[in-house]
Symmetry: C2
Subunit: 100 residues, 2 copies
Amino acid sequence: MAVPIKMPRAARKELVTLGDNIRVARLRRKLTAEIVAQRAGTTRQTIAKIESGNPAVKIGTYVAVLQALGLLKGWGDLDDPVGEQMALDDLPQRARLKNG
Amino acid sequence: MAVPIKMPRAARKELVTLGDNIRVARLRRKLTAEIVAQRAGTTRQTIAKIESGNPAVKIGTYVAVLQALGLLKGWGDLDDPVGEQMALDDLPQRARLKNG
DNA sequence: CCTCAATGTTATGTTGAGATAACATAAGGC
DNA sequence: GCCTTATGTTATCTCAACATAACATTGAGG
């Protein structure tokens, strides 16, 4: 029960992919869900949720699991196709809509 | 109040980086937090939490925000340094500890 | 195969995430 | 500088995520 949550297909698919990758990484390392759970400070059941792509899991738990598997480095670096230019310092601190 | 949550430094840092990247992407697109929140089906406050790297946010919300900014594609594809080889099909379905 | 550990599944209680709302502050365009 | 509005901040309430626990199933190895 507890149908995971309503989400756009593309988004859900991406989470399932991430979950699959995490599971593969875990099995490659021959680690049980229990062990990874302990290392990440969570439970076996939550690991299962992550590996199944359940969107209702805190990102902090995801990150802890990635770290437990040695997959964390550079994870937060998403490259933006839109922004070849402009770093945070060069951007306005606020967005302003058209007729403001 | 509400100190975000206890986490390893590296993990926290990675989340802050992700949040920064999301903020930059939003500002580049000249979108207000309010607009992004609507598109992602959440609230302005939660967008703020994400951009500040708060680990206590559901990953589903993160994904929805990434999608709202056009940053979703390929996000779930993390490359595992350990596994040059072996796909999911070739792996045992369960991990088995040493003296099993 | 036969065993046992790893995983699936379900139930329950607690705690905090997140929605909602209201007010304060400050950035940006004019 | 003004004025508008994006964002910061705080408070309250609800509901579900997560931990815990107990039982069922199934795969990996000997």
